[in-house]
């Protein structure tokens, strides 16, 4: 019930639209009886506090660095970069090896030249395992190396770069046909030979190979 003792709250909520339909009707009935209070209510309801025009000083000092959320991203990025670098290094290190087997392949030829049948068996191994890529053929060599002394020359790439040039002219024609197979033309094959028999002779592996071939 609205009375002269409690009307303030009712009028305030009436002016603020915070009453139910029934409550509003009760307030309106009360105002019918006390018209002077309607004017008071309207005046009071018109008083509003407006915000000051001001900005918080030192706001920048309250801000925090937003790196927390990115810590794991950074770790992940670092790992990815390292992995990429590692892969790149692997690939780069492989390239010499890739050239190696091709030369190595050429190298045993002199020995094979003496014994063409041996050459055939060797190439069988090549073809059975990885027929297309000389790079993978080299792998086959390595895998079989411990067991088959015939393929030991594959180890020779240590000397290959120097030995290579002399390898090409010596081999018979059938081996030359084998050599062009690598997709990448190997310039060393076409270079005029430098006879290096002395080195070959001093290489224990090749000695063993020649011995076994003979």
């Amino acid at each position: 019930m609205i009375t002269m003792e409690n009307y303030e709250g009712w009028l305030m909520r009436y002016a603020d639209g915070a009453l139910t339909h029934e409550e509003r009707e009760a307030v309106e009935a009360f105002l019918e009886q006390h018209p002077e209070l309607r004017e008071e209510m309207e005046e009071v309801a018109g008083v509003k506090v407006t915000p000051v025009v001001a900005t918080l000083p030192g706001k920048e000092r309250l801000l925090k660095k937003e790196h927390e959320g990115f810590a794991w991203w950074r770790v992940a990025a670092a790992v990815a970069l390292m992995a990429l670098a590692g892969t790149t290094l692997l690939v780069l290190n492989r390239k010499p090896n890739e050239a190696g087997p091709m030369v190595a392949q050429a190298q045993p030829e002199p020995a094979n030249a003496a014994e063409p049948q041996e050459t055939d068996t060797t190439h069988k191994t090549y073809k059975n395992n990885k027929p297309y890529e000389p790079y993978k053929t080299h792998k086959t060599h390595k895998a079989h190396k411990p067991y088959r002394p015939q393929e030991l020359p594959a180890e020779v790439p240590l000397l290959a770069e120097e030995v290579a040039p002399q390898a090409s002219p010596i081999p018979p024609q059938d081996t030359l046909e084998e050599i062009p197979k690598p997709s990448r033309p190997e310039p060393t094959v076409t270079v005029p030979p430098v006879i290096n028999d002395a080195r070959l002779a001093t290489n224990p592996w090749l000695e063993a190979l020649t011995a076994s071939n003979n």
Binding site: N6, E8, G9, W10, L11, M12, R13, D16, A18, E40, E43, V44, A45, G46, V47, K48, V49, T50, P51, V52, A54, T55, L56, P57, G58, K59, L62, L63, K64, K65, E66, E68, G69
Partner: protein
Amino acid sequence: MTTKEYNHCVRHLGDDLYRFALRYANLSAAAEDAVQDVFADLWERRSEVEAEGARGWLIRALYRRLVDMHRHDEVVRNAQVAQENEYRQHENFELKDALAHALATLPEQQRMLVLLRDLEGYEYAEMAQMTGLSEQQVSVYLFRARKQLKKQLEDYR
């Protein structure tokens, strides 16, 4: 709440909180202190506060901080001294910001309710919950506060 969301609060709510505190304390240093405290508190408790409810959380924290300051008489004394100085310095000051002076004459609780309602748009139920008053009491205090403000403003005109 993430660090990013906290910073968003500082950037987008900092001014509103400061204006609220400034209206209440009527002294920039006190208002600034209160808002800085509230944000420091928010940072400490950011794991408990959701970004969506940050504004309400900050207003409630600011309310408690300002009431606390008032109890320790910091706001009242400082505001009155500052206001008197300002009025003496600027003859026309009352015309510019009579509202600030009028607000300063209100009882602390009435002033807070008017600010919550007018600056933050709080509903009666929310104000009642925050202040521990009944909705009826809230509306009565608001009515009296506005009546007092009106009287004060008329006196300055």
